[in-house]
């Protein structure tokens, strides 16, 4: 980051190449699986880094900081759209997912169904779930990124897993990864 602050373009390019895929995926899954929105947010994220590199706190690992900025961007977007969903609402609205209709279900479909289930839980649960299981962050790191107590993160993961467990009971015997 110090190299970026001092204007090293090669350092910035390397940083972008290292994180572009992961951040794109995060935005894509957090923002309604839209490639256009994910591209816009990816660009905005790195523009923030260019404009204000001094906002990075070296006390934290870079990846943790970058994900926390990305997560705040997603939260702002949700606030703008006004589609923030609470767990209670999710319980009332059960997604219509046909899990057993196709015995030769493909890997992509499984993932889509996982996210369709997670969508019903709201962005708070989805972000915790993605950071933990896709990105492999520890509970402590997820808590730092989401600026939440570790207990809340554990709780959110528990609810997400609980809901998915019901669905995966059907899926896990049918699919080979």
């Amino acid at each position: 980051m110090q190299q970026i602050v001092s204007g090293d373009q090669a350092a910035f390019s390397e940083l972008y190449l290292r994180y572009k895929g992961r951040m794109y995926y995060y935005f894509y899954r957090m923002l309604e699986n839209s490639a256009d929105t994910a591209n816009d947010f990816l660009q905005e994220l790195f523009m923030k880094l260019i404009e204000k590199p001094e906002s990075y706190n070296p006390m934290y690992p870079f990846s943790t900081w970058l994900y926390s900025v990305a997560n705040n961007m997603c939260k702002n977007e949700y606030r703008k759209r006004g589609i923030r969903q609470e767990y209670q609402e999710a319980e009332a609205f059960e997604p219509q997912i046909d899990y057993l209709s196709d015995s030769n279900i493909k890997h992509e479909q499984v993932v889509e169904k996982i996210f369709a289930t997670l969508d019903s839980l709201g962005e708070e649960h989805r972000s915790a779930f993605l950071l933990r299981y896709r990105e492999g962050f520890s509970i402590k790191e997820v808590a730092e990124i989401l600026e939440l107590p570790e207990g809340t993160v554990k709780s959110r993961l528990f609810y997400a897993k609980k809901l998915l467990a019901e669905k995966l009971e059907y899926l896990k015997d049918e699919i080979e990864f």
Partner: protein
Amino acid sequence: MNKNSKQLLSKALRNDRIGEPDKAIEDRLMYAFLLKNSKDRVRQNSFSSFAGWLFSGQSFALKTVMVSMVVFFSIFNSQFTFDSGKISASDSISSRRFLVADSAHFIQLVDSLRVDSLN
């Protein structure tokens, strides 16, 4: 959810492919990076950042201390100067004159010098 299911889930997510971001983003970012750095280089030789700091609300306590120190020294410095009691107006009864070395007093006439040398 058992451990096997968790691994299954984690593996499913990690193998998930959604494609690559738009390549034009990288070009736009590199251009923005170059532009930002060129602006910074121009700004390095200017006082805009210092002036900005000086007239901003940042480090207000430090600025207050510095200004009060300058005021304090400027007041006391003028009070302790010996010239401070100097009378500018002349009076017929008492007149204070300062003896100042003047180069004009040391000019001697050329003729007197010649007389001296002859003696």
